[in-house]
Symmetry: C2
Subunit: 228 residues, 2 copies
DNA sequence: TTCATATGTAAATATCTTGTTACTTATGGG
DNA sequence: CCCATAAGTAACAAGATATTTACATATGAA
């Protein structure tokens, strides 16, 4: 089956020819790039950088391999772009949280829940990050995009800690980076290792009641860690 | 060129010929299997299941591809065996800890430090587990070996918690599985994401003083989580 | 309209990769 | 010793795979 034919199922003809001839795609560079990025994100997340196939990415994007190389240069450059977008999305969602006006303890709890929910709702993020770390971070280490978006990453949490310390609900001397890492860790580890974890512990770690147990345990843990 | 001829370039005949003759490897099935397993563990850890190459595994094992298929059947079966061994090694090291006679708090701290050190000294374990989870646990879900070695995995920690609760140092109502997962998570996440983490936080997470900071933070966190 | 160029398609290429096959050699039991 | 068999080697086959090339078509500016 030709690629032109492969599209005929979903579309019909714009006027001229009666039988199912190919409908040339409307030229839309931006849309094509978006479809490729979205498809790549999914494939890279599912199979890792090494396991993902350029052919499959192109096919799922309803685009052509040639377009991938045209727009992104190489499989690895595409992977880099996907990673940058994934980090950008997370950070943007974080920024939207607006925790500054909330009571420190409430704000911290909300941040813990947000982090957990983000991982849960964006499972791609975790596998993408895992894949990049398997490759020792080579795709992001020279990424100005990541460096830019990750600037002042700890600002919000630092403010939160200072506010809480001043009001006496948090103890002093808490390292914001260590806490930030811990908040991520408690959720991330559970979810990334959900398959082996379910085997080892002989239960379905993704069952709704188990997920609920986990997030409540995490919230409680983080609060205990910072409490005065 | 025949297959026999193809070897004559590097080697000459044993005994009959005077100059540097080939030394045929001593036949030792067990040793060869061990070399293959060790090499495979390293390659799978370095590149993941998909990224590892059977040829490279054979070469690094100073063995032959044929031997891999002879002894293990397939790349995936070899991967399964490597995983089973990796889990077995961790669990055996855990069993050697002998925490029963220690004061609960001291014992728990020792367990947290053990877990951290094990990940630090066996970085292969983390990437192997990551790789298996990328593959949704398919290689271990039917592994009787893993099911066998992971039996009563929470026993030690449960005993510890009960002892601590009885003596009043630990609070009651702590879920041993959640705690176990958290102890692993705080170390595992930091180490598996050390590359992207170092970029995002603009510091070398693997620098000795940073590692020290992390383990001390983790020990303190776990103690706070369980304290009465 | 005309034409340069951005966008898109199909096929080729060169290299890799897993698993197999045909073959060689060491080992140990009779 | 003799020889069946376990252990080991090299080359091959079939199918993937990333990237490139040759070509086609839509678009918009002149």
């Amino acid at each position: 089956m030709t690629q032109a034919e492969s599209r005929e199922g979903t579309d019909s003809l714009p006027g001229t020819s009666p039988e199912a001839t190919r409908i040339p795609r409307k030229r839309d560079a931006e849309a094509t790039q978006k479809r490729i990025l979205s498809s790549a994100k999914h494939e890279f997340a599912m199979s890792g950088l090494g396991g993902a196939r350029v052919d499959v990415i192109a096919e799922k994007a309803e685009a052509n391999k040639r377009m991938i190389y045209h727009y992104f240069g190489s499989k690895e450059a595409l992977f880099t772009k996907v990673l940058e977008e994934a980090y950008g999305d997370l950070y943007e969602a974080e920024r939207k949280l607006k925790l500054d006006h909330l009571e420190p303890k409430v704000a911290l709890e909300r941040f813990v829940r947000f982090t957990w929910n983000y991982y849960l709702e964006n499972p791609d993020f975790i596998t993408l990050v895992n894949s990049e770390n398997l490759h020792k971070g080579v795709h992001l280490e020279s990424s100005d995009v990541l460096k830019s978006v990750s600037k002042n990453r700890l600002h919000m949490l630092e403010n939160l800690l200072v506010r809480g310390q001043k009001s006496g609900v948090f103890r002093s001397g808490i390292d914001a980076m260590q806490l930030h890492i811990s908040i991520a860790a408690l959720g991330y580890y559970y979810l990334t290792n959900r398959y082996t974890g379910s085997i080892v512990f002989r239960c379905d770690l993704m069952a709704p009641e188990m997920l609920k147990k986990r997030i409540e345990f995490n919230v409680d843990s983080i609060i205990r860690i910072v409490s005065a």
